[in-house]
Amino acid sequence: MHELSLMGDILQLVQEDAFDKGIQKIEKVELIVGEITNAMPDALQMAFDILRDQNLHLFSDTAELVIHFEEAQASCVICGMEYKPDQKIALCPNCLVPSGKVLSGETFQVLSYEGSNAQ
């Protein structure tokens, strides 16, 4: 979708927290990216590489991005079956009625970061 601006938001969240904790060099950022968030892991990786290289006062030049992909899962409120939704997100493959609720795949979080006080 607009991964460069999303990565800008991500790095801002990390930067603010690191500043509060006196952390000066970020070495790693970990994200959870859900399958139905419209954010593409490859594009996030590219955006991270670009922004890291522009912000070496904050990032180590070997800083890495780790993405934990969260698969989409849904469950049917009628039969209780859990299924992996295709584009027909609410359609339960067992009951064949739109009775499914999304359980996972919508998470888009900064999970953690690692850094040090070294200059």
Partner: protein
């Protein structure tokens, strides 16, 4: 040193959305975020909406586009207040952009604020602007495949306005199929068929707005 955050990536957007929501709540302003692909007819639909509802409601519009004041000018020509946001390449409106324009409105003097998002069926659906309702506009010439191809948009909206139904006799679009596709993605969403050009079906959209306004004021 490892620091666990577990913070939503859109945290800052969501804070701005809460700021907007509180303002809208305190001033009893109904806010509707209209989204669609480019050319679905959002602005024409808003022109007809402003024309029809200005008798009973004080309406204002925020227009989102990459460039130009064209859409805001079309709304201003009808006598309604309109503020244009230009995103200069940005593919969606975010809550901070909306918050930054709210100073230009006297929300106490506005009953309904429409936010016309940047024409795009992907990104706008992911951003909470603090609105009461997210509405998608789909138009007949775009074809039936748009609902299954862009499921997040239709999953995250509660109403689909199917515009340009005056073109149904000339194109292979099935309203029944669109209803079925929509129900399989979001069974709670409703579909209203209309044509901003011929005005067919517009009354149903206006009734929906009036109902939403009553619920907003009673809150």
């Amino acid at each position: 040193m490892k620091v666990t955050l577990r913070t939503d990536v859109l945290t800052n957007n969501n804070k701005a959305a809460e700021f907007n929501r509180e303002l809208f709540h305190n001033t009893k302003t109904l806010v509707i975020n209209l989204m669609s692909s480019p050319g679905a007819g959002k602005t024409t639909l808003l022109e007809e909406t402003v024309r029809a509802l200005s008798k009973n409601f004080r309406i204002a519009v925020i227009e989102g586009d990459l460039a130009t004041e064209r859409d805001a000018d079309r709304i201003r020509a009808l006598g309604a207040k309109a503020v244009q946001i230009n995103t200069y390449g940005g593919c969606h409106l975010d809550a901070r952009m909306v918050a930054a324009t709210l100073g230009e409105f006297d929300l106490d003097e506005i009953d309904i604020l429409f936010i016309e998002n940047v024409g795009n069926l992907v990104c706008p659906s992911g951003y909470d602007l603090g609105q009461h309702h997210k509405v998608a506009v789909l138009s007949v010439p775009e074809g039936n495949d748009k609902i299954p191809k862009y499921p997040q948009m239709f999953m995250r909206t509660e109403l689909v306005l199917l515009n340009k139904i005056d073109l149904l006799p000339y194109l292979d679009f099935s309203v029944e199929e669109a209803r079925k596709d929509l129900s399989e993605i979001n069974p709670e969403s409703i579909l209203i068929s209309l044509s901003a050009r011929t005005k067919e079906g517009l009354h149903e959209w206006f009734s929906w707005i009036e109902g939403a306004y009553e619920r907003c004021v009673l809150q």
